[in-house]
């Protein structure tokens, strides 16, 4: 039965396979940009992962692409996770998913039923997002990789860039952290089955509900937490012009993540995140495992929202009522010497 086929494991799956932000930005800086198109509202100049192009004053399209190697054994689950992760960039911009195209790398020697299962998982998530799967592209390669190119629509007056938060805004996180650590622990046989199930449940959850609820409130900025970790994406959100304070006790953490960090099951991507973002962060009495969780690369992580202070509590409550482990985790401040202060 196809469902029992296992994917041959690669060295580091999901968003732990991302290139480091430091290496990447040096290369991107040197790319020719061409003519500035005034309708390109979000492009290279921003550190957002999606592009937004204005068609009319009320309508813009959001475009994004994401793919990676497997981080779980089961191909169907992997397909769901990769799709949820790719769709997430549309939600982070406050958009609606419209069309998606499959991106596939697959070894010729491998059982095609495995590919069928991956695509089935992906297609189900696109359908759940309310989008249409409209085609795709596949390449014979040594290892499995899967993801989507997604296009959505957004009202440009209501889109949420990642660096438009304001001092006084409350920071909300809509999913618990730690999937990178738990998947890594699982790979070396040190995660309990229910811990891995918790991580999978989190990774296969679309950010659709969170985005729809956030849309009802005054939210000034949003991003999704993925490979660069909670602190890495928070750093992008500060955009050199804001600072913030985080209460590490309030940050939701998946069961098993702390144990994995305490057992020193560090990922390479987590350490690259620490090297890149660490200099912007001051930890106040934060236990080391919690530091690692805050630097942990997330696959299909939650949304990080900057909400107006008067709306934050109600937003948190409605997100929780919808079954999300959402929490107010900090506050944006005027720019200070230390960009990110984490208290415990």
């Amino acid at each position: 039965m196809a469902g029992s086929e296992k994917i041959v494991f690669c060295t580091g799956g999901g968003c732990t396979a991302k290139l480091g932000a430091g290496v990447l930005s040096r290369i991107l800086e040197k790319l020719p940009r061409g003519e500035q198109d005034p309708n390109l509202l979000v492009g290279y100049d921003s550190k957002d992962d999606a592009a937004v192009y204005r068609i009319t004053d009320e309508l813009a399209f959001v475009q994004t692409v994401d793919f990676f190697p497997p981080m779980v054994d089961d191909p169907y689950t992997f397909g769901q996770i990769a799709a949820a992760n790719a769709l997430s960039d549309i939600y982070a911009m406050g958009g609606e998913v419209k069309t998606a195209l499959n991106l596939v790398c697959f070894p010729e020697s491998m059982d095609l039923n495995v590919l069928g299962e991956i695509l089935r998982g992906g297609a189900e998530k696109v359908a759940e997002a309310g989008g249409s799967l409209a085609g795709g592209h596949s390449i014979a390669d040594t290892g499995v990789k899967y993801g989507l190119s997604v296009t959505g629509l957004v009202d440009p007056r209501r889109m949420t860039a990642n660096d438009t938060g304001r001092p006084g805004d409350k920071l909300l996180l809509t999913k618990a952290l730690g999937v990178g650590l738990i998947c890594t622990a699982n790979r070396v046989g040190e995660a309990a089955p229910d811990q891995m199930e918790g991580a999978i449940r989190s990774m296969t959850t679309l950010n659709k509900t969170a985005a729809e609820i956030a849309h009802k409130y005054e939210v000034h900025a949003a991003t999704d937490v993925t490979g660069f970790s909670f602190l890495g994406h928070l750093h992008e959100m500060m955009g050199d012009k804001l600072s913030c304070v985080i209460d590490a006790h309030a940050v939701p953490v998946l069961p098993g993540a702390w144990e994995a960090a305490d057992a020193c099951l560090y990922t390479a991507a987590g350490q690259r995140n620490r090297n890149h973002t660490g200099p912007f962060v001051r930890f106040e009495n934060v236990p080391f495992p919690m530091e690692e969780i805050l630097f942990d690369p997330q696959t299909s992580g939650g949304l990080l929202l900057a909400a107006a202070p008067q709306d934050a509590a109600a937003l948190e409550q409605e997100l929780r009522a919808a079954g999300l482990p959402a929490a107010i985790v900090g506050e944006i401040l005027e720019k200070q010497t230390t960009e990110i202060t984490v208290n415990y």
Partner: protein
């Protein structure tokens, strides 16, 4: 001494293998781990710090690094296990803000600074911390002429810290070879709390 060859292994396998070898020591001893990338070295060093083992890292060749763990007799899992070396450190902080020592000919300035750092390794009283910022940030990174001396100082318990903003500015973030990265708050705090600040 136990030897672990973790070249070709992706994180966290080098740490997992090192932990297993340390457990096999069943007490005091040394474990040598070979890895092929700097990030693995950093993760092994992080594990040593968390578990209270002394560790020393060196680059043997391109894509070949050695991390040596020294495990003491004391139960190593103790939370705040101090590194068990006689404390020859003072509360002096050395600040290296340039890749040269003094004003004058550049070539001479660089030679002098290298000699200064070497001379530090020969002192009975070692500084507590060496801070590197601005032009000094190049000296803890790939291509620095004094990496061996700095690693020797670090192995003696001297804290080697480099300004992260400076590493970012010079595009050196991925090139750091010795010590840790810090921010201006910590740099200011270390300088204010120092008994002496020495600036060559």
């Amino acid at each position: 001494m136990l030897k672990v060859d973790a070249r070709g292994d992706a994180c966290p396998l080098p740490v997992v293998k090192a932990k297993k070898a340390i457990a096999e020591l069943n007490g005091a001893g040394e474990v040598e781990v070979l890895v092929d990338n700097e990030i693995a070295v950093q993760n092994l060093t992080k594990m040593a710090q968390q578990k209270g083992y002394a560790s020393k890292a060196e680059k043997l060749a391109e894509r070949e690094y050695r991390v040596l763990f020294t495990v003491g007799d004391a139960p190593a899992e103790a939370e705040e296990a101090p590194v068990c070396a006689p404390d020859a450190r003072t509360d002096t902080v050395v600040v290296i803000a340039s890749d040269q020592m003094g004003d004058g000919a550049e070539e001479l300035g660089k030679t002098l600074l290298k000699a200064f750092v070497f001379s530090l390794t020969q002192q009975d009283k070692l500084p507590k911390t060496i801070l590197f910022y601005n032009g000094g940030a190049h000296l803890t990174c790939e291509g620095s002429p004094m990496l061996e001396d700095l690693k020797a100082l670090e192995a003696e318990g001297v804290e080697i810290v480099t300004c992260g903003t400076c590493l970012n500015f010079y595009g050196l973030t991925e090139k750091l070879q010795v010590g840790t990265v810090t921010n201006m708050y910590v740099i200011a705090e270390k300088m204010l709390n120092a008994g002496n600040v020495v600036k060559p």
